[in-house]
């Protein structure tokens, strides 16, 4: 049984949608699933802070990618970790007809609404992992020889399978929604 789920907002700063990802992660961690989720801190992860390494090795990770550049997914790929699921913000923005706005410091109302939708979708996947008794997550090991800069990256490193608009699972990771339920 999974005790906690790691939430990994892409960690970017340049794009407004990166703020959407970060705010959504706070909503999941503080409001929707408090004490049942943890947020991965990219700089701490790269620095090798123990709790951030354990977070992705011992618990399933939901990565929130804010853009087609897939920086969150790519970081996990480079360090040898397969996420349990990916939430892809552009899909959800398109599905709900919401824009990111232009303010990176504090989100504008429409982007705030998008962050709430991203948070709900992230929490939905995380809750399935937490409560589905048949969900079987196997611990992983981080590659310790990772030299991160300027590596070649495949376009779709985890061969993502779409479960719902904006929600994906790597093709070789177990399904988390109970059998027969709608994703």
């Amino acid at each position: 049984m999974v005790e906690r789920v790691c939430i990994f907002p892409c960690g970017g700063i340049k794009k407004t949608e990166a703020t959407v990802a970060r705010i959504a992660a706070y909503m999941v961690n503080e409001d929707l699933l408090p004490r049942r989720t943890m947020i991965l801190c990219v700089p701490a992860y790269l620095r090798g802070v123990e709790e951030d390494l354990v977070m992705v090795e011992d618990y399933p990770t939901v990565v929130i990618d804010c853009h087609a550049e897939n920086c969150g997914t790519n970081l996990l790929y480079l360090s040898g970790i397969t996420p349990a699921a990916r939430v892809f913000i552009p899909d959800l923005a398109e599905q709900h007809g919401l824009a990111y706005g232009s303010q990176r410091r504090e989100l504008e109302p429409e982007a705030q609404q998008l962050a709430e939708i991203v948070a709900r979708e992230t929490a939905r996947a995380a809750l399935a992992m937490l409560e589905n008794p048949l969900y079987n997550f196997e611990k992983q090991r981080i590659k310790t020889d990772t030299c991160l800069a300027q590596r070649g990256l495949p376009a779709d490193p985890f061969d993502y399978v779409q479960l719902a608009p904006g929600l994906y699972r790597p093709s070789n990771m177990p399904d988390f929604f109970p059998e027969g339920s709608d994703a």
Binding site: G12, V42, P43, A44, L46, E69, C71, L75, A149, L153
Partner: protein
């Protein structure tokens, strides 16, 4: 000696401590209000993904790192990548908080 055209600003960018949000917010103030066009934000995840414009930004321009706490994740990332920052600001000293806090 060639005049510096642009300065890169790299805030620690973390999510665990409030001071990382302070570092990020301060960077937006510098790049959008105080020195627009003369400064540019370093995005760590883009940098380690190897996006050419982000790699060139830190290779060709001086970088100021804003570390949020004593973990010094910003400084350490640069060390791991073999880069040297031009300067470092440690937010805990300015805030008069202990180096690492919860």
């Amino acid at each position: 000696m060639e005049k510096v055209q642009k300065v890169a600003i790299y805030p620690c960018g973390g999510v665990g401590f409030p001071l990382s949000s302070v570092a990020r917010y301060a960077t937006f103030i510098v790049t959008e209000d105080l020195l627009p066009g003369e400064t540019e934000i370093v995005d760590a995840v883009r940098l380690i993904s190897g996006f050419p414009e982000d790699v060139e930004l830190v290779e060709n321009n001086p970088t100021i790192i804003i570390d949020g706490c004593a973990y010094q994740c910003g400084s350490n990332l640069f060390r791991l990548l073999g880069l040297k920052p031009a300067a470092r600001i440690l937010a805990t000293v300015i805030s008069k908080l202990p180096p690492t806090f919860v």
